[in-house]
Amino acid sequence: MKLLKKIRGRHVLLPWIIPGSFFLVWMAVSGADLVPHYLLPSPVKIIQTGYSYICASPGDSPYAGRFLTDAGASLTRVFSGFLLAIVFGLPLGVLSGRLAVVYGLLNTFINGLRAVPGITWLPLAMVWFGIGMKTTVFLVSLAAFFPIYLNTAAGTRQISARLLQAGAMMGVNRLRGTFGILLPGSMPHIMTGLRLGLGISWAYLVLGELTGVPNGLGAVIMDARMLGRVDMIVVGMILIAMVGRASDGLLVKSLKTCFKSARRMI
């Protein structure tokens, strides 16, 4: 039961039980040579490759020291696309949640568009934007748009009419009502939309980068596959998981720092 002990109300060890045991099994499997190393490299090898990828000086080996450049390129793409998705998704979501006309105008079109899997856009995006930054940003923003739009619309639609009436009787006009009541009142939904959007951004980032761009975390994985460096593929995957998880945490943290409603209602 010591494992379940909490420090300041948070479980310390509990979240690490599954990754930890997974790691141990992996150690055992590769130590006993049950699976050939070219299919599943040993954890030690992964750590070595990861260390060299992140910390070694560039030029020592094919992937040494490239992490910062790759992560920088990927983050730029993810955030550009994500930002674009917010710029379109949030206002359209609010309008469609509150105005029946906008809902009627957009709903069929957007849901039709949403039914097309994001991957299907890849060939068209490559024709339109070529290989690289533009295609990736396009795919990321397209994919992230839907959860942001849908959740914002749902959030602004479900807000109690009485809250808006209370604002109106205290002399709040439409503009201040939107920023002072509607958006804070929908914050839990909006936050869910943004988090889902950011999560899917990472998925589409990798898709966009698989098309042969020179740098980026997704590009490294694809490059490593062609060179048969399974260890590097695994390192890339783990790093994407870590950076993705960190960016989600950062998103939640910055929303909570900036908005009372995010801090107090979630």
Binding site: S160, R162, L163, Q165, A166, A168, M169, M170, G171, V172, R176, I181, P184, G185, M187, K260, S261, R264, M265
Partner: protein, 262 residues
């Protein structure tokens, strides 16, 4: 005694014959599945400066509809509502509402909720803070001013709801069964609190209720609404002194009369 004098003075200073709130031939129909249902029919009444008017009626008689029209949330089918002689157009801080349900902003503290309406108008931050302090004290929430609505009881929430509208000094205060969901003791407590704040500030109040005792405890005048016709059936002046107690002979008399009418 002082507050009565102030109110008399106010009355004389303003137009003594003009009521604050005038409702003239108000009619409201709702269209339901193609048939028109009449909720309010040719309803007229008025409320003077500093008067507490209770509108009593069984549920479904159109009390809340009436209040929604007075607040400007609903448009009447016919008739006019005047505040200080001006017809109303949309919701505004001259006619504030205390709702039956909880309509505090859950992301704001007690203090921020109370200051919400005033913040928009106040230029001077220090004055705003003093004013908010005064009303927090008035409703007795000094120790809870930094709590969130979800952390306080139902009675306290209604105290906040009362403070946030009294602070705006509306011409007319509209109250839609604000204490209906509270337990008996809290309800009595809130009624006394309301009477004491009202006597301090001399606001005109229209208070909607289905509770006979509540109406007799609070009102200067009770308008009894008729469920079937959507009109005012009877108007009762209450001359009882305050605080009113259920043992008083007159109280019992009015109580019996109201029960017969409702």
């Amino acid at each position: 005694m002082k507050d009565v004098v102030t109110r008399e003075l106010l009355k004389a200073e303003a137009h003594p014959e003009q009521p604050v709130l005038e409702v003239i031939n108000l009619t409201k129909h709702f269209e339901v599945n193609g048939t028109s249902i009449s909720v309010l029919e040719d309803l007229s009444f008025s409320a003077g400066i500093g008067e507490m008017v209770c509108i009593a009626g069984r549920s479904g008689c159109g009390k809340t509809t009436l209040l929604n029209i007075l607040a400007g949330f609903l448009k009447p089918s016919d008739g006019t509502v005047l505040v200080n002689g001006e017809p109303i157009r949309k919701p505004g801080p001259d006619r504030c509402v205390v709702f039956q349900e909880d309509t505090l902003f859950p992301w704001l503290t007690v203090r921020e909720n109370i200051g919400f309406g005033l913040k928009r108008r106040a230029k001077d931050k220090r004055r705003l803070n003093e004013e908010v302090d005064r009303f927090i004290t008035l409703v007795g929430l000094g120790d809870f001013q930094h709590y969130l609505p979800q952390e306080i009881s139902g009675g306290m929430k209604q105290r906040v709801a009362i403070a946030r509208v009294f602070i705006l000094q509306p011409q007319v205060l509209l109250m839609d069964e604000p204490f209906a969901s509270l337990d008996y003791y809290t309800r009595r407590e809130m009624q006394n609190l309301l009477v004491s704040i009202w006597r301090d500030l001399g606001q005109t109040i229209v208070f909607v209720t289905h509770d006979v005792d509540e109406a007799i405890t609070l009102a200067d005048r009770i308008l009894v609404m008729d469920r079937s016709t959507g009109r005012i059936r009877e108007e009762i002046e209450l001359t009882l002194p305050r605080p009113r107690r259920a043992e008083q002979t007159d109280y019992v008399f009015f109580r019996r009369k109201l029960f017969e009418l409702l």
